[in-house]
């Protein structure tokens, strides 16, 4: 039952952890900001540049429709990309860190 005692501040200073922390922070917040900007372009664009949204691309389908639809694909794409990077990089770094700590 007794929980294993970790020296948390030592782990926090471990170079592997620092590397993990930097990579993760840059990736997560960077892509989060990207997705927010991309999303808010939709209501802002629809309100202030309706002319662009009305441009017909294929048949009756206009730019506004394709842009709204692209939000779904961008979100899915980002989710898959994150899964790829996390499985490959973040999880690997975490495993290496834990191995190094002999836990």
């Amino acid at each position: 039952m007794a929980e294993k005692k970790y020296d948390w501040s030592a782990i926090a200073k471990n170079p592997k952890f620092v590397e993990l922390h930097h990579k993760k922070t840059a990736f997560l917040f960077g892509w989060w900001i990207f997705s927010c900007v991309y999303y808010f372009l939709l209501p802002i664009g629809a309100a202030y540049t309706p002319g662009i949204f009305k441009v017909k691309i294929i048949g009756a389908v206009n730019f506004g429709y394709l842009f709204a639809l692209s939000q779904f694909f961008v979100s899915w794409g980002l989710a898959l990309y994150y899964a790829h990077v996390a499985n490959k990089d973040f999880d690997r770094l975490t495993r290496e860190l834990i191995d190094e700590l002999h836990l």
């Binding site: 039952m1 929980e3 294993k4 970790y6 948390w8 501040s9 782990i11 926090a12 952890f17 993990l20 922390h21 993760k24 997560l28 917040f29 892509w31 989060w32 997705s35 927010c36 999303y39 808010f40 939709l42 209501p43 802002i44 629809a46 309100a47 202030y48 309706p50 949204f53 009305k54 017909k56 294929i58 048949g59 009756a60 389908v61 206009n62 506004g64 429709y65 709204a68 639809l69 939000q71 779904f72 979100s75 899915w76 980002l78 989710a79 898959l80 994150y82 899964a83 996390a86 499985n87 999880d91 975490t94 860190l97 834990i98 836990l103």
Partner: protein, 664 residues
């Protein structure tokens, strides 16, 4: 013990089914038909009710004269088939409850299914927890009436999951146990923080639950003619049964079953719509533009803004923005509440404690994103399909808010193959709506009771000294009480306008919960004072802003609006040839406006007109919540909280020490 549970569960199932059948003889058979629908915007949990606009649009133009208008449609579900399908769903879910009850022995089992849900299962459960009857019926209805804007509205509900995926899912899995209070109290003074976190969780859940319960009651009344109160009590008994006996295991499986049903329904219906359009998406859009009924509907809508459009131009306008969402700031404000609020919703956060690892949490969000996103893409087909096949005028004649569009479409698409299929398909979709309601309300009741039983009772009152048996007992009693309160509130709120409550729930979650969750996980200097000031200011600001917003009723403004109608009608009457009278529709409008003109008084908080002009408070309350959290933490620094940051940060990134969270 186990036997007792089985008997209780079985008798519950039987009594609910019995009530449903018993009502059949009492209710007039024609009740769910077209006429009463107009007064009941079922499940309009969409933040701004489109009802008013549509109603005013009709008498304004020369509507009564055009041949397209009098397409009165009816929506009547076959009671026997529908109630049989309800009974099947009740029976299956009750079976799940009996099975789940056997496995629910410890607090970890009750709140987090013992951490034994897989990533894939949790992904389906998140989708089931999240997609309410409002997204199922409301959004396709909006698309069927307002085209592009309805589709644009649906986008935010998926994008919200990027925040969940990147910022909260994995850290919460690693740092939390059962509730929001667990995450927030890690390096702060546990008692006050847990108490405030519980209050916030309960208020968010109550707002959301009230909207869901009222929507459920109206929907059931409309679809199968079960009286409002009976429907609320029936749904309430089931929801309490799932949560009290089956805890998180049963709730999870109810949500998985619901998500499966919802996706099959949406997929099947979209398939039929596309089959009719010859599987040609471009042709499908050309059909929308060329549809004379849609053209007529759009011309009337834009006429109110003084724009004259006809023919193909009007049809094309249906695919362009601005028919429904007219205030961009409100739209951005709602977007902010969605993008940040989803990640702060207690019933969504709670789902991440049910999986064993951060990897599983990640996988579950990604699966949920594909299900939820896929559903909204299909919703577009359903909405436009309904507009083409049923005409917007026909949809409005059944429900001015368009909430019945999907169901009407199901009936028509089925009936075009064979009449009996129409009834079957409609009954199936009614059952999907029923399962949808059950899954969402169960998740909410579980989240609220976890906050009360785990945070307040076990950790604040009992100082964390309660054995497993006592914890589970407390959780069950609390769920029962929360569920009972949900039923009472649902009954009391029948006549209230609850549409803004969903937006309010998201705003509180975004302004109160999310800032403190993010800062707890990522900011070294964050502490007790920050959590409390952030939660209080974010929550109070959102509620206060809604109280003074256009969501409330302002009798003086209503009277002024009615006065305008009276003036317009009198002018019209004066311009008529001698001897001629106004059409009956106009006379009725005049009579109503004359009555409305006389109302006087002020809103709930004593205002003559809104102080805050947006319906969604997020754009103001979210920054306020963040600022209050940051300033509170800086004003009362805590060394202990800073020192413990390393532990929180290492834990949430690596999952080290997590065994504590899973073990039971």
């Amino acid at each position: 013990m186990t036997m007792k549970k089985i008997i209780i569960a079985a008798s519950l199932a039987l009594s609910v089914a019995a009530v449903a059948f018993a009502e059949e003889s009492k209710a007039p058979a024609g009740a769910p038909g077209g006429a009463p629908a107009a007064s009941a915007p079922a499940a309009t949990s969409t933040p701004s009710a489109p009802v008013m606009k549509v109603e005013t649009a009709q008498p304004a133009g020369p509507a009564a004269a055009t041949p397209a208008a009098p397409k009165k449609k009816e929506l009547k579900a076959d009671r026997t088939i529908t109630i049989s399908m309800f009974a099947i769903i009740i029976a299956i879910t009750m079976g799940v409850v009996v099975w789940a009850a056997k496995q629910t022995k410890s607090a970890a089992d009750f709140y987090a299914a013992g951490g034994g849900i897989t990533g894939t299962q949790n992904g389906w459960a998140i989708a089931g927890d999240y997609m309410s009857a409002a997204s199922f019926l409301g959004i396709s209805g909006l698309i069927s009436l307002y085209g592009y804007d309805g589709f644009m509205y649906s986008v935010g509900w998926l994008v919200a999951y990027i925040t969940v995926l990147l910022i909260v899912a994995e850290p919460c899995r690693n740092a939390g146990k059962y509730t929001l209070g667990d995450i927030l109290s890690f390096r702060t003074s546990p008692k006050p923080v847990r108490a405030f976190a519980a209050i916030s969780t309960v208020s968010v859940s109550t707002f959301y639950l009230t909207a869901q319960m009222v929507g459920a009651g109206k929907l059931m009344a409309l679809l199968v003619g079960i009286p409002y109160k009976t429907a609320i009590i029936g749904v309430g008994i089931l929801m309490v049964g799932y949560v009290v006996f089956g805890g998180m295991v049963a709730t999870t499986w109810v949500q998985i079953i619901k998500a499966g049903l919802l996706m099959s329904g949406a997929f099947l219906l979209s398939f039929l719509v596309m089959m009719k359009a010859g599987f040609n998406p471009i042709g499908f859009f050309d059909q929308i533009v060329a549809n004379p009924d849609i053209q007529d509907h759009v011309s009337k809508m834009v006429l109110k803004d003084g724009v004259i459009l006809a023919g193909m131009d009007a049809g094309q306008r249906f695919l362009e923005p601005g028919l429904y969402l007219k205030n961009p700031l409100d739209q951005i404000s709602l977007g902010m509440a969605l993008v940040l609020g989803t990640a702060g919703m207690p019933h969504i956060l709670m789902r991440f404690f049910t999986v064993p690892t951060a990897q599983a949490a990640r996988k579950s969000v990604i699966i949920a994103m594909f299900i939820i996103g896929g559903f909204y893409v299909l919703t577009t087909l359903l909405g436009f399909g309904a507009a083409i096949n049923l005409t917007p005028q026909g949809i409005i004649s059944v429900d001015p808010g368009g909430n019945m569009a999907t169901l009407m479409l199901a009936q028509q698409m089925g009936a075009e193959i064979a009449p009996i299929l129409g009834d079957l398909f409609l009954a199936f979709l009614c059952a999907v709506a029923f399962a949808t309601i059950l899954a969402v309300v169960s998740g909410l009741v579980l989240a609220a009771s976890a906050a009360i039983a785990h945070d307040i009772y076990v950790n604040v009152i009992k100082d964390g000294h309660a054995d497993q048996h006592e914890q589970v007992f407390a959780a069950r009693v609390t769920s029962f009480v929360v569920g009972a309160c949900g039923i009472l509130i649902g009954i009391a709120a029948e006549k209230q306008n609850v549409a803004h409550l969903v937006a309010l729930a998201f705003a509180v979650a975004a302004s109160g919960n999310l800032p403190v969750v993010v800062l707890s996980l990522f900011w070294r200097k964050f502490n007790t004072a920050g959590v409390i000031s952030g939660l209080v200011v974010g929550t109070v600001a959102s509620i206060a802003l809604v109280m003074v917003s256009p969501n409330m009723t302002y009798p003086k403004m209503e009277a002024a609006k009615a006065h305008k109608v009276v003036v317009a009608m009198e002018k019209k009457m004066a311009s008529l040839a001698p001897g001629a009278v106004l059409p009956e529709k106009d006379l009725k409008a005049l009579e109503k406006a004359r009555k409305d003109e006389k109302q006087d008084g002020s809103s709930v908080v004593g205002l003559d007109k809104p102080l805050f002009t947006l319906k969604n408070p997020g754009i103001v309350s979210i920054p306020l919540g963040f600022m209050a959290a940051i300033l509170g933490a800086l004003a009362f620094p805590s060394r202990r909280s800073e020192e413990m940051f390393d532990e929180v940060y290492v834990r949430q990134n690596t999952g080290l020490g997590m065994a504590k969270a899973v073990e039971h």
